[in-house]
Symmetry: C2
Subunit: 236 residues, 2 copies
DNA sequence: AAGCAAACTTGACAGTGACAAGATTCTGAT
DNA sequence: ATCAGAATCTTGTCACTGTCAAGTTTGCTT
């Protein structure tokens, strides 16, 4: 019983993976009548999309496999066939989440680089604010990626995407500090501090716990968050 | 078939709430024979204790009202009578969590004050490490208190204890910075930054996301965490 | 002593994840 | 071309869940 692990990536700019190509192939090869395709076409991708809607709509705790199946218009046991169990689906969801996260961060960073020139501080702050914004925009997915114990981080796909996000963090802080975190313990500590700071801000803000910051006007809040992030980053 | 499981709030120094007093009153008024008390004695307290065990054992997601009832040796619908629904129980649990949290923090702080003299930095770092340790020791409860949306923070008891914890944070940072956060915006920002930093560290460490820090030897890790916390606290 | 309110139990219902077994459709070797 | 075999999806079932309604027990008040 070999599961094919094609995957959707409807959020990522361009599908580059082998799986992505394979899917595109399949799609074009099938008849474009939308009615009654053979089995379903690429149910896996449809389920992932439905699952993301379910996650966004009902949150991580009220999330239901059967709800996902209903959204995708298939039988209640169909998801299990593709993802094993609910944690398997969460694992796949988290992986797509990391891909989206990285993509969003990249665009943020580029935009900041264009505006602020080569000001490393502005870039790092922009990336940090991006982390917070991502959490606010995708609360359940954010928790799945950065807090929950349900996704299986031993899974190859998830492990890879999560590591890519982490390495991007090291890059960003390394650029700001003009040093490679892997070579300099102090810089590595700065990277950890930066992550902890943005993550703490994101989690507390999204959870509605830190009302003082919530109630600040947008501009003021962004200014204050940026200050905190840069204070964490460095160079102590 | 009535099991008595009296004993409430074993973690909190002294029960001060109206509910606490009422409970204590009931207790002394009843016969001290442990056999078959009228209805159960103080089921509410027993349920809270059972719920805490359930939470610690099964986590916030696999938490089950019926499991709590089973632990307490009562019928499956008994908890609902005292707490309404599962969120009501979570609300009560979070409130006891905050009480314990504050108590632990106080002892940590006192111990640091005794050892390190009047070194404010050592005290603040100790409190911060206490936050992290609390999260590691009570992961599900920690998430209930600081991340989850299920407890009802409009509830009087929870609102009160949560606010007390927050005000303690302001006190601690205020003492370190020799200023009242409410009077000085920069100091308030420092308090927020400190909270975000310790919370981020706690959440990432507990979630197993920040392996670099996890793998550090204990002494080294504590040193590094302390540095991060103090860096966040200012005085930038 | 009687009645009333609170505490707890019992029973039922719709919803859940997981599993097994069946039905359908695709694939590839001949 | 055909036909086994495999992959995909459906149907049915099970134990479990939270919540509600109704019933029973118990303590309290007058």
């Amino acid at each position: 019983m070999v599961k094919n692990k094609a995957s959707a990536e409807s959020f990522v700019p361009a599908p580059k993976t082998a799986a992505g190509k394979k899917m595109a192939l399949k799609k074009t090869a099938s008849k474009n009548t939308f009615k009654t395709r053979y089995h379903h076409g690429d149910l896996r991708a449809a389920l992932l999309e439905a699952a993301e809607a379910e996650l966004a709509g009902k949150g991580i705790e009220a999330f239901s496999l059967r709800g996902v199946a209903k959204r995708a218009g298939v039988s209640h046991a169909a998801p299990a066939h593709h993802f094993g169990d609910v944690n398997g689906l969460f694992t796949a969801l988290a992986a797509t989440g990391y891909r989206r996260f990285i993509a969003v961060q990249r665009t943020r960073q580029k935009r900041a680089a264009q505006k602020g020139g080569k000001d490393g501080a502005a870039q790092l702050a922009a990336v940090g604010l991006g982390y917070v914004d991502f959490a606010m925009a995708n609360p359940a997915l954010f928790r799945l990626m950065f807090s929950s114990k349900r996704p299986d981080f031993c899974d190859g796909e998830l492990e890879e995407t999560a590591r890519a996000a982490f390495e991007k963090l090291l890059e960003d802080v390394g650029r700001y500090r003009n040093a490679n975190p892997c070579d300099d313990e102090a810089v590595m500590a700065s990277a950890m501090a930066t992550w902890a700071m943005v993550h703490g801000l994101a989690d507390l803000l999204e959870g509605g716990r830190i009302k003082y910051l919530q109630n600040l006007p947008r501009k003021k809040r962004e200014q204050m968050l940026s200050d905190m992030i840069l204070r964490a980053a460095g160079p102590g």
